[in-house]
Symmetry: C3
Subunit: 674 residues, 3 copies
């Protein structure tokens, strides 16, 4: 993206409205200072009501009216919701999962590998993209939407998986060996004996299948990107709306939930390769539960994909009843996204919809389509961003800490759960959120993309599966002066989810100065007075290596073992946290680790959040350092100015070291260092 | 029904007994003062053990012995449980639902539209009805039993639904428009593209499908009624055993549960059209949980269907372990039914059954088939009713309050739940039970049967879907002096479950003097000091209209909005209750509303319940006004006599204004005004 | 088994290891004092990688190395996990259940009656047994593993069941009568009308089906035993690994759970007939939840099968995270098994497995395959057992109390649950555990194997179904001086689960001096001040029979009824406990009953457990009486020596009457009476 403007806009579906009010919509968007709309994804049956019969009336009208209004357009390929005629043409388009063939109705339930689907999808994409690419105000394309593998266990998927295994392992002996198939008599001597994967209970093979399916989904996106690339101009971007593991709450039939963790059904790093700019949607609790953690976590993941700014293609307006924003919260949301490095935000969506499944996923406008407090707050945001112009755009970060994520470990731990109430993503969020609350910023990077040299501190939450190659890199990282902080269940198994058959942590006992071959449900075990939960690995610090026992378990029998260790190794230092406990305990470890890594930690912490970056400014001849101060609380409070001198670019007020910054409820400041 | 006797009897299935004890049964029934038995429904395989081979031995014997004993008989068509030979003949008789084809075994699991079923059902009905109609003591027929649509998604049902849609909408464009099918690409351009309904996630279309299926079930009953009418005498009635939404508790495999709310799978109003007298079964918690609310609520619904007396074709004897009645409770049950307008009660059932699914749905007799405390209490009831003769029969009500129910709104709110823990029926019961506990009697009427002019006060619990025609009637009702009390989620959507795209409450902002375009999960919000739960609509009273804010929310941000409003409009008054909270708050509103409607409310309230009516008595030349005083408590208490003078017709005791009426545990009085 | 050694060993699967470390394994086993391994069950795909192509490499190697090391071998037939080629050959091998055809992957999911399976199973059994039977150190064979019917509703099972019914009942009339099929129109007039059993909701017929399926599973084991018998030497035993109803906890996908109650899917008594020695696996909570109850209960069941010593073919090492043993617990487990009459124990398993479903069902060795505290404790056990030589072997019991179990009643009560939170096995465990905690030892015997004359006291927990023949035996038992203690829901129904249609308890009112025809959910009911839960049968003691009311209900209305009765009848005495309440109340009843039966009860109770037996010792010329003192607590305590004089054969210490025995945490003593 070449623009130095912040994108501010909304998803827009006039197709879904029963009344024609496009002029009024555009007027209200302009009044809100919006400069972009995203259209067309999910409207296949409107665009192509019968096979190869196209009706682009809505496209025409939106393009024309936005052009007049000076509003840019992102065109989405409409493939993520297939039209009824396509399913009638080939019922096998519906994805087959462990539960059987999906029935038509819901979105995102087709077989990515079905040839009929691919053929008709290609056709509609070519028509739509060629039709729209010529418009100057079409600034980019979104391919598909929230793509995942949809639990596909269909024949195409299973055949492709068998081909993949055969190419990878060549002989059945190697396959048997890799996954331990002799167990319960699952080994094969003939590739044709490979059974229907749907009954498989081998966690390693199933994790491999998950990994393979993630690749299939990423390949599908790359295929769409190639088609779009045949038509798009150089200045038009290709993006995708990457989403996260959804945490459900509320009624089963409703969609209540929020962006919680690493996506299990698509590898973001793999998928992002075909994009020119990363895009995402981020939803999060609001009202009393608004913490900013999801906005930061998801933003850090998406920014790290290309180490660049990204688009928030969907963010919440009013959404569910739980999230009707308090006054000030919508504005706080918006600045929180920018603070993570977003290049702009688009609401989902403009109008609340009057029919269909998402009737109560409310947009900026309520069902009455008039003004309302949320829309009015959006207007305030729009006006501020118009005024601030390019001052906030393209903020870059240069984080010294990285938190490593891995959806292969996620899959493995679904088969070998740490506890019924503790998932992989719970551990990730426990370690991430503790950093976030301390105002230690980090990148969040897929293990496959990790370059240890770029960082001073590496954090591994439950990095269960890891290759020996990467283990050696981590060893070298610490030896060379890095600080490694690892949680329980890290470094346990290899890439086939085979537990390493020697002393744990595999290859890193010397690094951590510790080994472990027992673990337990904590029961009444405590650590520094706090209840240990879910797991306690019984750590044996190496007495000869001078390993520091940061905390011993408090328990009649487990008291003989350490729960947290610290070991200086080479020029660096390695921490191992053998159990799950309060975030406060973890934060104490982080404090020490940050000191080891010479990373300074602000004096204030959540609910006062600081997120920083640098804007390189050729015009002004110098980089500008910005610090977003985000206040996630309804209480007023003060925080000390952490800088020699800074100016809040939102209202021009200046602060010096020693000044107290007064924060109203749900407040936002953007301090520029002077 | 011409009789002026109260029916008192039981369901009777000698077919289910392994021993022949019909003489003893009849003797014990007579000893209990019983005058009626209901037979034969569910005994198809006994009546017709092989196709077209009939064996009416049990019918013969029961008819003969009841005739001798002077006991009347209601004959049930046996269709609600199909015989094995019929399923062998055509396996497609078993209903197909979202979960697949039902398997044979349970009752009420056949496809109402299957032609083989219809053909064989017609045959057995014709045989049985023609065989029995001639007996003088056969007083009527029950068609089928607790009929519903059984979740039918079979081919006949789907084809019929498509035909119905096509006839209704003619073009696919209108269909798309009505339900917003463009959403997620569900629109069709060709009727043949209409997909299998089983995958549909469009709440509006699915609510339409539910409505259609309710009509199919009602049509099936009408079809049976037509067949029976070919044989029955004029003095023989046709009834049906209408049941309610069942509230499950206890073990999954057991049938523990009770009659809770509006029936989702049959529209009572539609179904009752073919009946000459309404019939029902009502089950309810007992022991410490006995409140009388279900007896009143279900009775009010059934009485309102034909604005006439009705039969309780099944009521509980000992039933489940939870319901073994305390001394006095069985008698209290019996009088409670009469107090709602029942023309009689029949126990389900006579003997506890020794095998099969309902072994522990215990009858009047325990498995030992001897006497027991429950049977003995039935004897007391029977003796009292013999003595009271016709004095209690055909009591009519002339209620001034109506509570409006709508199973279309029920369906819609299953797709768009207010909260995972608050169903449509929860709101209905919240509003009904509050009236009941205050001793404000009401009719409970289907929205399609509502005649506003008949009432002074209309109550709408979550009347989510409503036509503009009815909205105008409600507006007129208030303007003309009526009192309207509406809860949250009323007047939101049209008959296709499309949210009205303008200011809410649609067409009634002027009437309520209020509008609303935001709502929220209440969180910590309170109202008059009570916790608000599930939903808080943020009401904007119209300042210029003089709307009264009966209660403002208590909350830092939502405190700007009203939670309950009152507005004088024309000659009437409209109340809007925007949130769910304690019944006490609702009762305060009712108290004001009743005053507005000039309805007087007794000084006492639950557990002392008063239910009243009038018996027109040509013989005595004057109407008699009866007030049942029903005491739902194990504590003794006193209540002031609310009448100038009255006599308890059960024991002849007289009370004057100012007297205290002494109530024993689970006591019953029937005061006749003097 | 001829040996006078205690078997001490482990399951051993070198097939599952990715590295060859058999020499090291054998070395470590020897160091632990092990003398036996169990091999080969579940390794079919390794033994026969293609149909009829055998590869016995692992067998050869294990047999050779164990022979050298002087370790005995139990060879398991490998049939309980079928190889992929077999499912490819005939997909119908996978069991069909109510949920459809099982998918390949998990063990124990095949159709026991499938002819292809039987043919290939026979082939591999013949190959393996003939191959190994000649080795001197192969001491016996285990047939299959944890065999059950696997919920089989496939065509072979259903056809066999129909044949069985037809042979049993001859006419459909008798079938209809036995199960009350007229109910809900389920009766048939033609055997061909018998419907698919999968939809059946007749609890009696379904319990019959369960019983039939248990017989099919037992017949399958007998078939394997016959094949093995063709090859085995006389000194080689045939055993089977009988398991128990599993109580699940923890994560759904994990196998966390433990041996809880009577097995629903196999009748142990029936299955054990073909075995020469009974075998079992017993798993139980550990750490703070270790009580010893499961070890005692399951051991008492298995010992009672053949009234003989038995093998614990699997017992837990480290197992799940919940069960990592505290120091001393593994040793306590081991002696607990011997105290119940086990002839030896084998750990499941030797190595923790590095791949596959049971990766975290940890063995003696952790995944690092080195030493660890659990292995080290096993070494201590092994050394002690080596030293004690034959002194502990073949201990016999001669219990005077029997607790009667019945998996037909279990099935019936699944259809007619006492309460959603109280299963048949909960009642069994309530009654067993109370005995156990009081140190009253008992046999636990299947109703079909009960010989009342052998005992002085019979206990029947929820013996719901019972034949009249057995009822008469119980009557005679009491008359002749026996003590009968029966719980609620005993003696209710006949062998077809028909409730007896006369006064309950059927045929035993005279014996108990009590009758009952009402029962209730207890609500607030108490008994001797304790809350009654789940059920209260309202007992009517016979006033003329002098029946003692041991406890009346405490309740406004139910206070008129007794909850527990005692009745002297003939020379004996019968107790009836009509409700579920605290174990303390039950123990008071047991105390009286034991006094009636002249059984003395020790002064100490759980957590100090005493389990006793006699070792007949021809050599020494006299029997030796041993008392295991097992201390299930982490607290130290003292217990009085209950014997005139005794010596702890573990450490030689002697105690006299009046001495206090000092017990350390998780302590074990074996007192030999002097």
């Amino acid at each position: 993206m070449k623009t130095r403007k912040i994108l501010f806009g909304t998803a827009y579906y006039p197709e879904y409205m029963s009344c024609d009010r496009m002029d009024e919509d555009i007027r209200m968007m302009k009044a809100a200072g919006m400069n972009t709309v995203r259209i067309a994804e999910s409207t296949w049956s409107t665009l192509e009501p019968r096979e190869n019969v196209f009706d682009f009336t809505y496209i025409d009208e939106v393009l024309e009216k936005t052009q007049e209004a000076g509003i840019n357009v992102i065109v989405g390929t409409p493939t993520y919701a297939v039209p009824p005629w396509l399913v009638r043409k080939d019922p096998e388009i519906m994805v087959e999962t462990k539960k059987g063939r999906a029935r038509y109705g819901h979105r995102q339930l087709f077989d990515l590998l079905n040839p009929t689907f691919r053929c008709r999808a290609e056709n509609v994409i070519r028509h739509l993209v060629s039709y729209t690419a010529g418009y100057a105000h079409v600034i980019g394309f979104q391919i598909d939407n929230e793509t995942k593998h949809y639990g596909n266990t269909g024949k195409y998927m299973q055949e492709a998986f068998r081909r993949y295994l055969r190419e990878k392992f060549v002989t059945t002996e190697r396959l048997n060996e890799a996954f331990g198939l002799a167990y319960w008599s699952n080994s094969i001597a003939d590739w044709d004996d490979f059974p229907d994967i749907r009954g498989c209970v081998n966690g390693g093979l199933m994790a491999e299948f998950e990994k393979f399916r993630r690749t299939v989904a990423a390949d599908y996106l790359a295929w769409q990107a190639r088609i779009v690339s045949e038509y798009k101009r150089d200045d038009q971007f290709i993006t995708h709306n990457l989403d996260f593991q959804w945490k459900k709450f509320g009624a089963d039939i409703a969609q209540d939930g929020y962006s919680y963790g690493v996506q299990p059904d698509l590898n973001h790093y793999e998928a992002a390769k075909c994009l020119t700019i990363a895009g995402t949607d981020i939803y999060h609790p609001t009202q009393d539960e608004l913490t900013g953690a999801e906005t930061a976590f998801c933003g850090d993941i998406i920014r790290s994909l290309k180490d660049d700014n990204y688009l928030v293609l969907e963010c919440q307006a009013q959404a569910f009843k739980y999230w009707t924003p308090y006054p000030g919260q919508l504005r706080l949301h918006a600045y929180s996204h920018l603070a993570s490095g977003a290049q702009g935000i688009m609401y989902w969506n403009w109008h609340s919809i009057h029919s269909g499944y998402e009737t109560y996923w409310k947009g900026l406008l309520s069902h009455d389509l008039g003004t309302n407090p949320t829309y009015e707050e959006a207007c305030r945001i729009g006006q501020e961003w118009k005024k601030l112009g390019t001052a906030l755009c393209k903020m870059k970060k240069n984080n010294r800490v990285v938190l490593v994520v891995d959806n292969h470990s996620l899959s493995a731990l679904e088969w070998f759960p740490i506890d019924k109430d503790l998932t992989y993503n719970d551990v990730v969020r426990w370690m991430y959120d503790s950093l976030y609350e301390m105002n230690i910023e980090c990148d969040v990077v897929d293990i496959n993309a990790l370059e240890p040299d770029r960082y001073d501190m590496i954090i591994t939450p439950a990095l269960y599966c890891i290759t020996e190659e990467m283990l050696k890199k981590l060893d070298t990282f610490v030896k060379s002066g890095g600080v490694l902080v690892s949680s329980f269940k890290s470094f346990v198994a290899d890439e086939y989810v085979r537990v390493y058959p020697d002393t744990q942590p595999h290859l890193l006992q010397e690094c951590f100065g510790m080994s472990c071959n027992q673990y337990t449900e904590p029961g009444r075990t405590k650590l520094t007075g706090r209840q240990v939960r879910y797991i306690a690995e019984l750590l044996n610090p190496d007495k000869n290596a001078g390993t520091e026992r940061l905390a011993m378990y408090e328990h009649k029998y487990w008291g003989a073992y350490a729960g947290i260790t610290r070991h200086e190794y080479g020029r660096g230092c390695a921490y191992y946290i053998g159990c799950y406990t309060d975030k406060d305990v973890l934060k104490e470890v982080y404090k020490k680790a940050a000191a080891d890594a010479k990373i300074s930690v602000p004096l204030f912490s959540w609910p006062v959040i600081m997120r920083s970056g640098v804007i390189s400014s050729k015009a002004e001849g110098a980089d500008r350092t910005l610090h977003y101060i985000l206040h996630y609380s309804e209480e007023e409070r003060e925080a000390p100015c952490p800088f020699t001198a800074a100016r809040d670019i939102l209202n021009g007020r200046e602060y010096r070291s020693g000044d107290n910054i007064r924060l109203r409820d749900w407040d936002v400041l953007i301090l520029e260092e002077l």
